[in-house]
Symmetry: D2
Subunit: 283 residues, 4 copies
């Protein structure tokens, strides 16, 4: 198809929209969807996402990118042009609980997630059968506190070998080292099983039960080196009551985790998320 | 202030955004917020809302409007330019139940609704004290099935006298004639106490109770001559259970009605709503 | 296990709770959870659900049932005693869309639905592979407007052969005859893809799109002979916006359908639902 | 009226419901609503709330209370019998922001909160006019970090003089001393403007904005001597987006605070809340 997406962030000033839309018009691109946001018209940062249809896009891609470089320099833009037909390649990391993996596979199968799921990595064997039934390569990489360095080295080799663009931690339960995280900035998406910043860290459902909260939640965020402190992409909650024990909270929570992670991944794949320091703009 | 809003709808074609944003740039307008939507890039309708900051806007207003007329003709646009400092004048019609009126007054007082509430009209005396405590003129116009013609004549005179731009039916409970509705196209906002199109017409909470629904709702829409069939602006729902009797549904419903109507009015006042046949685009 | 559930409905009068709880106490049953509801203490109907733990329940079951018969007569009760270890046997009817089936299988596999899924019936072959991968018998019964009588005869034979207690129409899309429905009163659970009573009948997402609603929903209900008019068990909604086309509404809707049906089935399996004419009490 | 409510908590054991319901039956009381919950049938704590209708209740009250004492001893119960006609007396503490006060007054005026609002206390004059327009005594008690002791002494005298049963901190913004809190255990209801335990303490909306959360919330809880750590009664959230600045979060938050506090107060007034260590059972 001839559909492209342009993501921009730059210091705000008059004329950005005019210049960008003029540029696209000159390449016969018709704007399908366009969103802007400025943190402050006076000296703030400007963000823009444009989805457009452009006849013969794949042939003109190089030319367009070169031509746009000039505009980008003029406005000091960070920018990215992506092509809808050029599917991102995804690796899903999973541990023993498979509900988030299954939700992603299912949404993917029914056409809700446009990506190549190229690889499933796990420190356990539980997901092998599922992976294989979907025809996706499964790699068992035993990972724990002791062998973290070797495990990550092996994982990084796999990510390179499979040319992975996006890593989804679908309840992976292992902490990644700064080295690993630095290799994939804003491209590792995690699901944390609490409504952050409440219950950062381990055993959030147990702690939610102890505190007696009346809503529980889940948070999907990009992974940074501060545990559970990365830019939040999406959150969800459900009502709970006094009679729900920890087991019941976990069951309700699984359903929140599934839908929150699926939405976050979908938005990332559709290039709807721009990271601005520790926050996200979601267009 | 120097803030303006431009609303556009026209047949979709390439170059609209480029032309409009170029135009604004030439008048030194900085785009604060901009939204677009097209029903179909091939032969569909294109909608756009731009909010911008333009130094000396009020002095240049006439000139800008005249200059834009040319663009509008070129693209066959329906368009409206409005000025944020130029507050819309609102009349609230109310009957005996005051919860929606109170919500609007309160949101208005706390700065959430930027408008001049110029007039409160009622077929009962119940709202007089409230209106006067807020310093708003109150007009008692007895209206019922028998005297509809005279009542509406008097109401239309009031609307003209007070130069009213927006009419809010805050649980007014009287049906308006086609004559009255035609005089204010897409400028009469109603709150219906059900989740439309369920329970069109009278006694929706009683009928919701009979049907045994598990969620009840409210709908705010522009008034047309088809009862409860006008373009929907906003809807909301709340969960109910078997033990809620009709009285309890009404209490829960009042809270939904209040917030749904307040959101719809806010969006209308901020020029966020474009009517497209029997639907709304809400930017 | 030694866990039982007692469901009661009868004319309200003083002394019901005292008598029932006394009865259970005499059999050494400890009440785990108990809910009551009365439509009206004066002349209304009283509903009660008690879940209890009773040592040696399976051995005493007959004796308890006989003894309770006396109380039931005294208060003119309709009642049912069920045993948690005695799993209900479920048949799932499905057509070509598999999302509701998959949600049920998945919840069942992860322990969220305590039942024997004994049979999957479909008028298409699409679900066969899934059924077989879960080790569940799959029966292809071609059914359409022309052969309804023969198809239902075959289905009724299957339901008898597999001793089915509950029939779930997981987007089955075929209308059942009064004959079929009458054979399974309040034991056929359907998912309708709209927020009933809005958009009864065919093509609800298309009609929701035409009407321009701002929330779409799904409804799970017991099947009666009035199309989409049976007692509602559960409903859910999600927010939609002007840019969602029919295809997008269907995708969002699938996720609502899945969770609404799963909750309704769970509550039915846990004996939490009592039907009172055309409404449900959900404890 | 002849309506009473019995609240019970005691070690769980068989026979409690039977004994209590037998007791009520002997006094000709008809159970209107009854709820039970046990933390664990084996050695846990049992909680029960019964609402009943009893002819001539006010005359028999003393007799019933004395007679119930025997049962209470037998089961080691903590219990309270309250009478619906015997309205609780409420004091509302408020500072400069009046939205929570207004919501309570309004719900009270429309019959949603059955209580005597006997007193409004504030460390500012902003609420005086509102209080007086509702005919409620208003006491200005200047309170700040410096004069806390004298201010609280004066407040305690007022609470005694006006025979206050419930204290509502409707955005009061002053910290109470352990002395004050100890004088009213589980009878001071606060609204905190965040989804606890996230953003404990000051400036929660500012911190929510910095963290980039996608939902903001409010929490109503009983006040204890641990800041924002008391038993949670109710919580609510609303979705927010990247374009909402702190001011916008506060506006959205005000609406959450209003409804969350009003629900919590309503439940407290209806004797639906039992405190169990640091958690609440809400029946």
């Amino acid at each position: 198809r001839n559909r492209g997406r342009l993501l921009i962030s730059c210091p705000d000033q008059p004329g950005i929209v005019a210049t960008v839309s003029r540029f696209l018009f000159e390449y016969n691109a018709n704007i399908i969807e366009s969103s802007q946001y400025s943190t402050n018209p006076e000296g703030g940062t400007f963000f823009m996402r444009v989805e457009f249809e452009c006849p013969g896009l794949s042939k003109k891609a190089k030319e367009i990118e070169q031509a746009f470089e000039e505009i980008a320099e003029q406005f000091s833009m960070k920018w990215k042009l992506s092509y809808v037909h050029d599917l991102k390649r995804t690796a899903i990391f999973v541990s023993k609980e498979l509900h988030c993996l299954l939700e992603l596979l299912w949404e993917w199968q029914s056409g809700g997630l446009l990506t190549d799921i190229a690889l499933i990595v796990s420190n356990h064997e539980d997901a092998r059968e599922t992976a294989e039934s979907f025809g996706i390569p499964f790699c068992h990489v035993p990972a724990n506190k002791e062998n973290r360095a070797e495990a990550e080295a092996q994982q990084l080799r796999l990510l390179e070998e499979y040319k992975i663009d996006v890593i989804i931690l679908a309840r992976y339960m292992q902490i990644l080292t700064p080295n690993f995280v630095a290799a994939h900035p804003n491209r590792i998406i995690n699901i944390h099983h609490s409504f952050l910043p409440a219950f950062i860290g381990a055993r959030p459902y147990e702690r939610a039960h102890e505190r007696g909260v009346k809503l529980i939640g889940a948070t999907s965020h990009y992974v940074t080196n501060d545990l559970d402190e990365g830019p939040i992409i999406e959150q969800g909650v459900e009502r709970v009551r006094h009679h729900h024990n920890v087991e019941a909270l976990k069951k309700i929570g699984r359903s929140i985790e599934r839908s929150v992670l699926a939405r976050a991944v979908k938005w990332h794949l559709e290039d709807r998320v721009i990271v601005d320091r520790n926050k996200t703009i979601v267009f």
